[in-house]
């Protein structure tokens, strides 16, 4: 399998541990990632908050770059990026005049017909049976709270992925790898996303509720598929503990971390040793 890869800024910055583990998994599963030449930032929350045109144009340029190389499918492991790419793709598909004007703005003809996949969808495409067959170290000790956060499933009309209130796709992957999962209440609540720096208190409040609820339902770790969720729940966990005077000590894994562990990789090979919260 050969597909375009849009890492986005986080995976080439402070969330490079996420890229490390997903590259390790996909290599083993015979998926070749072709990073899009000279990709640019999707604009994230800043663009859709301050300028709608920019919020379409920035992702559109990346779609056009992938299309120009003949790719039909693109992996965007950051849900912020994949949502922005999908939103732009939808807007372009629904409005021919917009598609023409955006093509001029980004100086490339953009068709907007590239499929954009998040990491869960890529594992689904590879197939649970194939994943199961590749397991070398079943996740017996893991009892995970699968955390989807906001943008993996929302807005549903844009991302068209799983059930936006009761998603199950991550649980199915974990269970195929021999892990256990818990039923809990905060699977699709937001952690505060990109407000980490601008409005830390909101992030601490929301993330504290998520960690507390996961622990109360018997989880011994959280599994996420988003770099912002990981920053807020892992890197900021010490601030949450300090602010609320509690001890969570809850390890936060990327989905590709637990897949990688099941495939037989050592934690260090996946970048798990670079997380802030230590192993369970």
């Amino acid at each position: 399998m050969n597909l375009a890869y849009y890492p986005g800024c986080a995976l080439h910055g402070s969330s490079n541990d996420y890229e490390q583990s997903l590259r390790a998994c996909l290599e083993t599963l015979d998926v070749q990632l072709r990073e899009i030449d000279d990709w640019i930032c999707c604009g994230a929350t800043a663009a859709h908050s301050l300028n709608q045109k920019l919020a379409v144009a920035l992702p559109a340029r990346n779609l056009a770059l992938a299309e120009g190389k003949g790719f039909r499918e693109m992996l965007a492991p950051c849900p912020m990026c994949s949502m922005q790419l999908l939103k732009a793709r939808k807007a372009l598909a629904e409005d021919e005049a917009l598609r023409r004007s955006v093509s001029k703005i980004v100086e490339l003809e953009v068709r907007g017909d590239t499929q954009v996949l998040n990491l869960i969808q890529l594992f689904e495409t590879i197939g649970l049976d194939r994943l199961k067959a590749a397991v070398k170290a079943p996740l017996g000790s893991i009892c995970a709270a699968c955390y989807y956060g906001c943008l993996l499933t929302r807005p549903a009309s844009v991302v068209e992925f799983d059930d936006c209130e009761q998603p199950r796709s991550m649980e199915k992957i974990l269970e195929a790898l021999g892990g256990k999962t818990v039923d809990w209440n905060y699977r699709t609540e937001c952690c505060g996303a990109g407000m980490t720096m601008a409005n830390e208190q909101t992030v601490l409040d929301l993330s504290h509720k998520i960690l507390s609820n996961a622990a109360a339902h018997g989880a011994n770790c959280l599994v996420v598929a988003c770099p912002m969720c990981h920053v807020n729940l892992d890197m900021k966990q010490v601030n949450i503990e300090r602010h609320y005077g509690v001890r969570h000590a809850m390890p936060i894994y990327y989905l590709s971390d637990v897949v990688g562990l099941a495939l037989g990789f050592k934690p260090e090979a996946l970048g798990i040793d670079r997380h802030f919260v230590g192993k369970a």
Partner: protein, 155 residues
């Protein structure tokens, strides 16, 4: 998220329906919003509340009526876009420096300026921070895209 807002999304929509755009534009809520899309997903009338939030933020920034209490968020989003315009990709270290500096100029808060300063060495130790960030090669085209989409003086 709506629970912590001075004006929850449902009330913002009502204000707009009643023609009180000015009050809606000055609500803290539009900059407290984390764009989690919950309101739009659960609205029984299928109103795209999150899209309305975007429109309100954009209008309030363009008209220079952003609420003083939420300036930190406004300054952050602007610093983020200036960073992308310059580099094509986000340079986290530069963004933090720029955001902290612009917030300091605005609030003169030394404690916020140095808050989380100990985080930098911890990120370096984990190889999560690069002193020299990545840049897109064709940064000129990024500058032209920005110029075609928005009034650059707003940033």
């Amino acid at each position: 998220m709506a629970a912590g807002m001075d004006t929850p999304p449902s009330r913002l929509i009502r204000l707009l329906q009643l023609g009180h755009a000015k009050r809606a534009l000055q609500a803290q809520a539009i900059w407290q919003c984390v764009s989690c899309q919950t309101c739009a997903t659960r609205c029984p009338k299928s109103v795209d509340c999150a899209g309305v939030m975007d429109a309100l933020r954009q209008l309030s920034a363009e008209r220079g009526v952003t609420t003083p209490k939420q300036q930190r968020t406004v300054l952050f989003q602007k610093a983020f876009l200036r960073n992308i315009r310059r580099n094509g990709r986000l340079n986290e270290l530069e963004l933090i420096a720029e955001f902290k500096f612009s917030t300091f100029l605005h609030s003169r808060s030394l404690s916020f300026l140095f808050k989380d300063a100990t985080l930098a060495p911890q990120l370096m130790k984990r190889k999560k921070f690069h002193l020299v960030g990545e840049k897109a090669h064709d940064r000129a085209v990024v500058g032209r895209i920005f110029a075609r989409c928005m009034d650059n003086s707003l940033l």
